[in-house]
Symmetry: C2
Subunit: 208 residues, 2 copies
């Protein structure tokens, strides 16, 4: 689905997303596609945006879009400068011992957001969601279909449980880095993992 790049890139070039240094076509083709993607996602939402429509908006061939981005999800992640792609996040969540999924996911989210350059694009998206219904819809569609529903399906739990886990982790990131509640803002990641992981584990457990 959104796995590894499959569509034949011109001349078998490597995926531009992973080696941004190598750019066949115009030097700014990738940037053009991303600008078109941002416009299209904002206008149509995540679900209704298509690779074809984004290619048209960018004035390039859809094959070229596929050359740079393996999937619509990958394009969204690049366009919004998100720090992690569903195709690497989801295996990390669902593989490994089920009884450690809470700890694994909590530690991953807190470690990732410790880096300012990783969390800033996430918080920027959250800001636009707070003030713009259309952007909120775009984010909702991406989060729902690219992440939460897939995790729920892989773990065989109802989607509301992945949503509760997401609300807990997102709430903590917000309180830690935006509202800056103390001591939440300054305790170390491992102390937070110990506090929060049982919550996430309960939501994502088989037993519920």
């Amino acid at each position: 689905m959104s796995g590894q790049p499959a569509d034949g890139p011109p001349a078998g070039e490597p995926d531009g997303r992973r080696r941004p240094g190598r750019r066949p076509g115009s030097a700014d083709t990738r940037g053009q596609i991303l600008a078109a993607a941002r416009e299209t996602f904002a206008e149509k939402g995540f679900d209704k945006a298509t690779v074809r429509g984004i290619a048209r908006q960018a004035g390039v061939d859809p094959a070229l879009v596929h050359h740079y981005f393996a999937s619509k999800e990958g394009m969204f992640v690049a366009a919004m400068e998100l720090p992690v792609e569903p195709e690497s996040l989801i295996p990390m969540i669902v593989s490994g011992p089920r009884e450690e999924v809470g700890e694994r996911l909590t530690r991953f989210v807190l470690t990732m957001t410790s880096a300012a350059e990783a969390r800033q694009p996430v918080l920027a998206l959250a800001r636009t969601a707070m003030t713009n219904d259309r952007m909120a819809a775009m984010i909702r569609e991406f989060v729902t279909h690219a992440i939460l529903n897939r995790v729920a399906e892989a773990l065989q739990i109802p989607p509301i449980r992945t949503e509760a886990a997401f609300a807990q982790l997102f709430g903590v990131v917000l309180m830690r880095y935006v509202v800056k509640l103390e001591p939440l803002a300054s305790v170390d990641v491992e102390e937070l993992v110990e506090l929060l992981a049982p919550t996430i584990q309960r939501y994502l457990d088989d037993s519920g």
Copy 2:
């Protein structure tokens, strides 16, 4: 502290906050005080704002401010149009069986925020916190000192546990009403209480 109004109002009038129909002094004195409070809180934060400073800003006697508002907390709640005051919220949380505190608080927050007119001022504050560091500081100080630390003290748990509970409940309200994740946005309150109350209970429990 922030309990019932105590300071002598002019001519023993009832507290204007509870019976807004009766207003001794100029018809708009209360509105003037609230406007001054909003300015002062935004400028100085919650901790450094004083009743005296707000009275000066409003051009009224501090006794008159005390006549309308029992406490700085009460003034903040009125100025920001928040749906609940710490002096009624906190007893609700800490009284009643300790083993039901999670359920009690979760149901209260979800029921309160079901009403658009109750949640809108809360979400408006959250929006300003997301985009304005000074407002974020003001909100942090209020939430910390008027609510979270007091609950932690009353329940004899470390403040980080009330912060984790707050992050969970706030995250859910955000996902339910702003991002509108489904099914989270449309399930009824009791289904959410069942899902979330054990989390809140664990954070607020003696045993931790």
